[in-house]
């Protein structure tokens, strides 16, 4: 029983920052988290910009080659969305 409880100690210790929060613990944690997240977001934005330029080319090409469907305007056909799959409860 005692062995079981002592094995739980490290797990309970992880909760201490929440049960007994202190500025000494949370201040550096949040500082580094904010700093790393901000830097990663900046790098990620560059990736999005490069990827987005390729996707723009795809979009315009696809729009030029598109065969338009005049019935695709938000209406629901009376046959139902998927006649093969529709079933009762």
């Amino acid at each position: 029983m005692n062995i079981g409880l002592s094995m739980l100690d490290p797990c309970l210790g992880l909760l201490t920052p929440f049960t007994d929060p202190s500025l000494e613990f949370w201040s550096p944690v949040i500082f580094w988290y904010v700093a790393i997240a901000a830097i990663l977001c900046g790098v990620f934005t560059l990736v999005v910009i490069v990827g987005g330029i390729f996707d723009l080319r795809f979009l315009f090409k696809a729009l030029n080659e598109e065969v338009t469907d005049e019935t695709d305007d938000g209406r629901v056909s009376t046959e139902g969305p998927d006649s093969s799959g529709g079933e009762g409860a």
Partner: protein, 525 residues
Amino acid sequence: MNVATVDWLILGGLFLVLLGMAIWINSKCRSVADYLVSGRKVRIWLGMGAGIAGEIGLISIAGMCEQGYMRGFGFVLIATMSMLIMTPLFGIFGFGIERFRASKAMSVPQYIEMRYDKRLRIMSGFFNSFAGVLQMSIFPIVGAGFVRVLIGAPEVAFSLGELGIKSDWIIMGILLTCACIFTFLGGYITLIVTNFFQMIIIMGAFYWLGYNLISQIGVQELWSSLEREHGLSAVYPFTGAEGGYTVIWFLWSIMMGILLQFSYGPYLQKYASMDRPRTASLSYLVGSLFGNGRTFVIMGLGVAALAMMGSGQPEGLDVTDTAWGSMATPYFLAQHVGPIMMGILLASLLFSDISTTDQYILSWSTSIVNDCICPFKKTPFSPRAHIMAVRITIIILCVLFFLFGLIYTPTMPIWEFLWSCATVICGTGIAMLFGMYWRRASTAGAYAAILTCLILTVLDLGARQIWVYRGHEPSDYYWRPEEGAFTIFMTAIVLLVSISLMSKGPTKFWDLGKTVRDMNKGKQA
């Protein structure tokens, strides 16, 4: 004013470039699906880039700066805990959003008609559009107030007889006109492309500004000031302080976040425009993993204002503490941002407003036309007339927002107002969620969920107004707004489940999971 000629030139030049782009893209729009969901051909990086701009509205920038100034980075832990739940749910498992894309619906109420019935579509379309439009109506005037303080414009620009024309009204008119032009031209195609380029300007401006401010203040001074002013609550949200965050607040915010992914028109229209269901969930995954960094940079501007000015008002200003909280950051930026950077900052704020407003306006206009007008027409609109109907609705909404801004006087906290509107919309989210995943969810149950969220929210809101009218403090009310909203959600879910279990007869459930798998493998378009 704090704006030099070169700043106006930068602002005007960037605007004209994007306007030229919008006019050119307009020629690419050939069908209703092109206009409303970009022909469903948006891939992941483009969708994410445009999504970033769509998510950073002027009102959210104002809110984040205010949060940074008033509470430091206390919100960071909450955002992270929320991310740990939401990101796997939507980003990895594609919960709901992949199924919505697979249904090929353009709007939430369209799916409601597919799954339940046409009358429910009209009802949910009406309530959602009304709540969405009402929620959005404060965006332009609040954003205009932020810009006015930043550029140092006087409160009253000029007088017409006895009527003082406020600078806020003029700025609001300019913001709405710009958003209207971009939405009018080319619809969602224009919006996706211009939002992508606007994102580059917005992110570039905020990172440049953040770097400059940190260089001026110094990292050590910034963080020490934050700790000095706010103590533990600057970095840890659950300090138990009056009006602070609680467990119920967290549960409510998670639940609302989940339900809005199933019901908030602008979110779902974005998913509907993606080329595959997997693209929708992937864009959520990557966007949410890196989105927090963006929020922290913007919040950091408020923290910088706190470090440089302290928490008190400068001499000569006489505004309430609440008003000072929202104007502190633009006031600080007006003092510390030089020429050229001010022009780029103004352009980024203008574009952040345009990119959000145009996405939301297009979404609600689509819902009004598709879900509240088209179902009553015996013969469908021609594609040209359909697009024209959406465009006319866009203009009407812009005029309504402008008129609302003219008479707007805050009588309740902004967030409380926004949350109440969102609670109404969440009723449709409950019907959507159960409709997608539970075979027995019935039409009667869906009606109950949607009406419960509407009626109980209106009653709660009315009761609070009467409470305040009788001279009580809003904070002394029997329960907090989030406790009320959480109870409403639970009631709606219990009603939907119990009524569905009691209902007999078939439902229109169909297995969207199979469609998702087929579409992701490229077997279906």
